[in-house]
């Protein structure tokens, strides 16, 4: 195949598919064992300094915040992050000094809420490096390529743009049509963290609503930490196997964390905590504010339960539930 153009971005989390097959054979047990563990243990075991990490969900939706806070508490350093529409996860991890590089499809912004002061500042001051640029479709197709055990996948996005020039994709002449086509390299993250609605003790997971790119990500990653709102009986999984989106043998750790996505949205369960997100956006305008936030909500608490008390306890959580069910009108702070 004739290579027409090569992106200048740094190629990260790419491996020869045969190497990845060997890795699976040597490291992934297919034994049906209880994988439940504490947050602290899961992060300690599977998130190492300098590893390539990707979070499931989308933006502020179904993100495993419990693991993110624990990563900050354990003061992990040098992480390389998949900015595959990463919003609050990248922002707060960058602000806490855990991240060295980001591959960016969408980062440093909070969608409608505006730009992310803390992570933007880090990039503009050169404390965090953008390793490459991608589109959202291209990024998740990199996970699809890895999930399929391939070195790359052809796509028709990014062509003709600087996004492609700053990615690690290549443009080749498609041997079938003769037209240029964009090959995106597979992305095999060292570890992925996905928050789900329910799973059994072995890690058979169910997600309600959109799966975003978690089907692909779960299969692409080497290690997979699952946090779940609820642990369900294994027999229930067997009675409704069509609902399993992640089978147990992909999963390395299962952590039960009700409300584990707060302040993010957990579809059908609870809506965004706009008050809390606004507090973060306000405080993260300055480095002092970042420290104040982290001291209060992350370093200052011992468990996720304690954090939930601090953000407003049962009263707040019930309100977020009513918001999600459209039984309460959304109020945006400052509007």
């Amino acid at each position: 195949m004739e290579v027409l153009l090569e992106g200048e971005g740094e190629l990260l989390a790419w491996h020869d598919p045969d190497e990845m097959r060997r890795w699976v054979a040597e490291n992934k047990s297919k034994e049906l064992v209880d994988k439940r563990m504490e947050l602290r243990e899961a992060v300690k075991k599977f998130v190492s300094d300098g590893c390539y990490i990707a979070f499931g969900g989308f933006g502020h939706v179904r993100v495993s915040m419990a693991v993110i806070y624990e990563i900050i508490r354990q003061r992990k350093r040098g992480l390389v992050m998949a900015g595959k529409t990463a919003v609050h996860d990248v922002d707060i991890l960058v602000a806490a000094g855990c991240v060295e590089k980001v591959e960016v499809a969408y980062s440093f912004g909070h969608e409608l809420r505006g730009l992310s002061p803390a992570s933007r500042r880090a990039v503009e001051q050169g404390r965090v490096k953008v390793a490459s640029e991608w589109s959202n479709a291209a990024f998740q197709w990199r996970f699809l390529a890895a999930a399929m055990g391939l070195p790359f996948i052809p796509t028709r996005v990014m062509l003709g743009t600087d996004t492609l020039r700053k990615s690690s994709a290549k443009v080749v002449r498609d041997p079938y049509t003769g037209k240029p086509i964009c090959l995106v390299p597979a992305c095999y993250p060292d570890v992925a963290v996905i928050h789900v609605h329910r799973c059994d003790i072995y890690g058979n997971c169910q997600i309600d609503g959109i799966s975003v790119e978690d089907f692909e990500l779960a299969r692409a990653a080497k290690r997979l930490i699952v946090t779940t709102e609820e642990i369900i009986d294994h027999e229930r999984v067997r009675r409704e196997p069509y609902r399993t989106i992640i089978p147990y043998f992909l999963v390395d750790a299962v952590v039960e964390v009700p409300w584990g996505a707060h302040p993010c949205n957990m579809p059908y369960m609870y809506y965004f905590d706009e008050e809390h997100i606004a507090e973060w956006l306000r405080l993260s305008k300055t480095e002092e504010g970042v420290r104040e936030y982290l001291d209060k909500y992350v370093y200052g608490v011992d468990s996720f339960e304690e954090y939930l008390e601090l953000v407003g306890g049962v009263r707040k959580l019930e309100y977020l539930k009513r918001l999600e069910q459209l039984r309460e009108e959304l109020k945006i702070p400052g509007r």
Partner: protein, 257 residues
């Protein structure tokens, strides 16, 4: 001229909404595009299929979603799917319209949402493509909603995040992008623009009430092609305004800034 009963943002939402045809699909992002699509659905296009990049397909949007992935984007939808599925459907040719925004645009409708200043030493780091490049690459007609001023309507972009007509006629096809795709309209606080068939350059279609051709020229670094006679954009109707304010009750978009 009497006192205006609407804001510029409301006018932009109405213009965008009217462009969307019934029984078509539209790829929607956060903010203004969402309320424009919701307005279209509640007026002339009840069978408009709204599609969100995170996987929501054909929802009955109950109230304005804050994120393109939040649960409102697949409320009473026909499908709650995945990004791979939605992006593949777009690549397959099922998506008619797509919305885009931008920090900078050039005369060919190329957009920058990545960085102001040099890429490796950014003056301002913006979020990047997100789904924008995908929408701009794969949808048949893209509608761009943005503010117009000389810093935004620029001769040369600091970074081409999303393809418009690239360097002019034939450039998209030469780059390998799907045929019959590209920017269709640009809607700003001053006017509505299209793209000249032959040159693929931006041209004025209508100026908003009270806006002159001079205002439009003064707010662009590049020359915008001008029609012989400049039409005036039709202002929002009472009905449109009522629905808009109902869709965005919390004022997420309409009362921003």
């Amino acid at each position: 001229m009497g006192e205006r009963k609407y804001t510029t943002v409301e006018l932009m939402a109405c213009v965008a909404s009217r462009l969307l045809e019934d029984r078509k699909t539209v790829f929607v992002g956060t903010g203004l595009p969402m309320i424009a699509a919701a307005l279209a659905q509640r007026t002339h296009a009840p069978n408009l299929v709204i599609v969100f990049e995170a996987g929501g397909v054909g929802p009955r949007i109950p109230t304005l979603p804050i994120s393109v992935g939040d649960s409102r984007t697949f409320y009473m939808a026909v499908m709650a799917s995945s990004m791979h599925d939605v992006m593949s459907i777009a690549q397959r040719g099922y998506l008619d319209y797509g919305f885009l925004g931008g920090a900078q645009i050039d005369m060919y409708g190329n957009l920058n949402t990545t960085v102001i200043g040099p890429w490796d030493r950014p003056k301002v780091r913006l979020p990047g493509s997100g789904g924008a490049n995908d929408v701009g690459s794969l949808c048949r007609r893209t509608i761009i909603l943005m503010r117009q001023d000389p810093r935004r309507f620029v001769r040369k972009l600091d970074f081409i995040t999303t393809p418009g007509y690239l360097t002019g006629p034939g450039a998209r096809e030469k780059a390998g992008l799907p045929e019959d795709t590209g920017p269709y309209r640009v809607i700003t606080q001053l006017g509505v623009y299209g793209f000249d068939e032959e040159t693929k350059r931006m041209k004025l279609l209508s100026a908003h009430p009270g806006v002159t051709v001079e205002d439009i020229k003064a707010n662009s670094q590049f020359d915008i092609l001008m029609p012989d006679e400049v039409e005036e954009t039709k202002p929002p109707t009472e009905e449109e305004l009522r629905i808009l304010r109902e869709v965005d009750k919390a004022g997420l978009v309409l009362r921003r800034e």
